[in-house]
């Protein structure tokens, strides 16, 4: 039965369901009082759980459990930049965790703030920088300055491993854009054609910016890996890669088909595990002061079943007024059951769920701390 790994500003909680997803029980917190940015169960063994954590005073680290969160052991070598490196980077927090390819048990990737990519080959015990990205000669230009960062630091996120090829990797940076590698991280190239960048003036020569964009969250369809979706600071996008993947492949702004009064700004995005044309987003207010709350205080998921050509509002069960939610980029998750379950954690500490692919929602838990991330796992 699925479990939810609820990473919050003050600890990690694990929710476990019954077979029907009707009854959920909530664990006592792990890492209570610490900021937990992401907790992910390894789908390759259904036992190994990693959690990225820091404490207000203490530096960043990764904890590992091989008994589903009953006990934890800290990484012997957490993600860190080389001591004495010329740019003087130091990891502030580990933001993102991604299990490696099915053929590479024990491999994990981590994305950090400031923007860095790290890999572990031993199940998260020891981590090493991916020099091909962190020290790429163009990387300082890609990541930009501190003006290209979210308020608590830039983020390297959405590390994706092509299920057909462990050498083919994607990542996103806020800001910086989307990049891909076809040689297991030795070299990288931007993949942002077609993506708007409304926060920069048009280029003098009229060409598109090759990087510098602000993807918030990117997902890859598991059975049709050439299809990716991403929710950007400037819209909702879908891409269908050519074969072999070309650096000239273009994203299509399918968010232009969202209702104009709602817009296509948001943080998270999810795609159906079996239906590549189906995806869900949770729009937020990206007008005026960018409150990043539900537009008009009326939370709603929007679902497409036709590849983004149309979107349908799904709000049954949600408050109908005065609900000023923010759902962060890691806090919109799905399970792989039939029908698909959808889970949203908001910054007010509420965990909402749908067991009918978004047709209706109910609140599973409230009064948790500010939720950073929700992931779903199926224990072995």
């Amino acid at each position: 039965m699925p479990q939810l790994y609820i990473a919050t500003r003050k600890g990690l909680w694990i929710a476990t369901s019954d077979a029907a997803r009707a009854t959920w029980t909530l664990s006592e917190p792990s890492f209570f009082g610490t900021q937990c940015h992401h907790a992910v169960l390894d789908p390759r063994d259904g036992r190994t759980l990693l959690c990225a954590s820091r404490q207000w005073h203490l530096g960043p680290t990764v904890f590992r459990s091989d008994d589903l969160g009953q006990t934890w052991k800290e990484a012997a070598t957490p993600p860190r930049f080389p001591t004495g490196e010329p740019r003087g980077r130091a990891v502030d927090h580990v933001f993102w965790l991604t299990p490696g390819h099915a053929s590479e048990p024990g491999v994990w990737y981590a994305g950090t703030s400031p923007k860095g990519l790290f890999r572990s080959d031993d199940g998260g015990v020891n981590w090493a920088p991916v020099a091909g990205f962190n020290d790429h000669p163009d990387q300082p230009t890609w990541v930009g300055s501190d003006k290209d960062e979210t308020p608590d630091g830039g983020k390297l996120h959405s590390i994706l491993v092509d299920p057909r090829d462990p050498r083919h990797l994607y990542l996103g940076m806020s800001g910086g854009g989307i990049f891909e590698s076809t040689d297991r991280g030795e070299d990288w190239r931007p993949l942002n054609w077609g993506v708007a960048m409304d926060f920069a003036p048009p280029r003098d020569d009229g060409s598109e910016y090759p990087f510098g964009h602000d993807p918030h969250c990117m997902v890859q369809h598991p059975s049709q890996p050439d299809r990716l979706w991403h929710q950007n600071h400037c819209g909702i996008y879908r891409i269908d890669r050519t074969s072999p993947p070309s650096a000239t492949d273009r994203w299509e702004r399918v968010g232009k088909n969202m209702p104009p009064e709602i817009g296509d700004i948001g943080f998270g995005i999810a795609t159906h595990p079996r239906a590549p044309d189906t995806a869900w987003v949770f729009p937020m207010d990206g007008t005026g002061n960018w409150s990043r709350t539900s537009p008009s205080g009326k939370p709603a998921v929007y679902r497409t079943t036709d590849g983004g050509q149309s979107w349908v509002r799904k709000d049954a069960g949600f408050p109908t007024e005065q609900a000023w939610w923010t759902v962060k980029r890691q806090a919109l998750a799905i399970d792989d059951l039939a029908p698909v379950g959808l889970y949203l954690g908001n910054t007010n500490g509420e965990l909402w769920a749908s067991d009918d692919e978004g047709d209706s929602f109910r609140c599973l838990f409230r009064h948790l701390p500010h939720i950073f991330a929700v992931t779903v796992g199926t224990p072995a």
Binding site: W56, H57, L58, G59, T61, A90, V91
Partner: protein, 86 residues
């Protein structure tokens, strides 16, 4: 010398508020603490040898951010988790 450990770090010291360590400099003291309590140092000092932003270190009553500061055996090293959080 004696090292006073703040509550945030006692998970590494089996709950002990005071521990013993050796070293001729603060840097060496933290290396020794890391040998005794694996993981301790990186939570307090980043990979570029900078004290974390909200960690204060005192030698006796004198605060220092310099890891090369000499430490004498009779001195007490006090680590403080300064104002932070919310």
């Amino acid at each position: 010398m004696k090292v006073v450990v703040p509550s945030q770090l006692r998970g590494y010291t089996a709950g002990q508020a005071e521990v013993e360590a050796t070293g001729a400099t603060l840097d060496a003291v933290f290396d020794d603490l890391d040998r005794r309590f694996p993981g301790f140092r990186f939570r307090v000092i980043d990979e570029q040898r900078r004290l974390r932003r909200h960690i204060l270190v005192f030698l006796g009553e004198h605060r220092t951010d310099d890891l090369d500061t000499p430490v004498l055996g009779h001195q007490t090293v006090t680590i403080v988790g300064a104002l932070s959080g919310g």
